[in-house]
Amino acid sequence: MTAEVMDHGLEARGLGCVRNDRQLFADLSFCLCPGQALILEGRNGSGKTSLLRILCGMRQPDDGQLCWNGEDIFRLGPEYHAQIAYVGHRDGVKQDLTATENLRLARGLGAPNPAFGIDAALDQVELWEHADSLARNLSAGQQRRLALARLLVTWAKLWILDEPFTSLDSLGIGIVESLFANHLAGGGMLAVTSHHPVSLNDADIIRINLST
């Protein structure tokens, strides 16, 4: 029982965000528990990315509070950051580093995942034959997969993803969806925005539409 209370994930209470004097969203509350996925929908400019940046702790919400296992994420700071992995619009892939070097840095900055080495992660996103290629020589879709491989090399419970399927082909989308399914099955959490329908079969999904 205590374990359940301790481990109840991310809770948002009355979140609000104002940008350029415009209220993007207000009084947004949800609870994301282990094994659940949060899918954010909404038109362009409805505040999806802003909400994700708030969930990452990069931006303070203008209203409300965000708690991880019952504690405010801004008070937790790096302790919370060790639990999350974020792949944003700008995917943070360094063009002049090889795929392996990119992942090595990501692994060093987070809490390394004992289950996934760098090679294993590249294997998962089917980039193993490009391990020593500079990122600038990879195609847009391959770079996106490299960015998503970052999710695997650190031990992060909550994955926060902004349009993860951008520039991926159907094969790439399949790979990423199976990563999501494994992550959720292992008790992970997912917060994602996507214009593509995300198919997560029988996973427990919370949908929030910011346009309504």
Partner: protein, 227 residues
């Protein structure tokens, strides 16, 4: 987070920035070339009178070093900001100020250290005495890291702006003035045979102050720029 993982993150980031600099050598050479060109143009412009040159050499070399440092500042965070790496640093499990310090150390190794290596040659060119060249090297060794550390705060504040260049100069230049005054005066004093311990102590004090406070200020500024 344990100290081991902190050290590892510091070393990894330092290594990464050095590798990146080596793979983009033109950026590496730019400030150095600027430093050498500006300094060598002075004798051409004002004539080759040894007495005059050795009198103004400390000022010339230090002003050129200062401008070269400013020229290179934007590269500290710009590319990381544009490709999203900076966001990853912000939400990494390590404290941002430590990562910032790694980046500034790398920046100094890439842009500050080469100035130290060519400075003796430029000193000779401007007829500085042996003692003055020694003092010049000491002041550069203590002063250029301060330039990188203070500059990082300014870059962190302006990295989110589309045209941050002018504001950056206005922000950072006044803070560079103390370094310039003490350093150039130290070189001139040593040329006149005066002791320079006081100058060096002040520069060292500035370095310690910048080293301990600038990473915190830079980290805070980055958080503001990225939110």
């Amino acid at each position: 987070m344990s100290t081991a993982s902190l050290n590892r993150a510091f070393a990894l980031l330092l290594w990464r920035d050095l590798v990146l600099a080596l793979r983009r050598r033109t950026e590496l050479l730019n400030p150095l070339l600027f430093f050498v060109l500006v300094t060598t143009l002075f004798p051409l412009g004002i004539g080759a009178d040894p007495a005059l040159l050795s009198a103004i050499a400390p000022g010339i070399i230090w002003v050129a070093a200062l401008l070269a440092a400013m020229l290179s500042l934007d590269s500290v965070f710009r590319s990381d900001f544009e490709d999203g790496s900076l966001e990853q640093f912000l939400i990494s499990a390590q404290p941002l100020s430590v990562l910032v310090l790694a980046k500034v150390v790398a920046h100094w190794l890439i842009t500050g250290l080469p100035l130290l290596i060519v400075a003796p040659l430029l000193g000779l060119l401007l007829h500085l005495s042996g003692a003055s060249i020694g003092a010049l090297l000491l002041t550069l060794l203590l002063g250029t890291p301060v330039l990188s550390l203070i500059g990082a705060i300014g870059v962190a504040l302006t990295v989110g702006l589309r045209r941050g260049g002018v504001i950056l100069s206005l922000l950072v230049l006044p803070l560079y003035i103390p370094v310039l005054i003490f350093a150039a005066d130290a070189v001139a004093s040593s040329g006149a045979g005066l002791p320079i311990t006081a100058h060096l102590s002040l520069l060292a004090a500035l370095l310690v102050l910048a080293l301990s406070l600038s990473p915190l200020a830079t980290a805070a500024a980055l958080k503001i720029s990225l939110s």
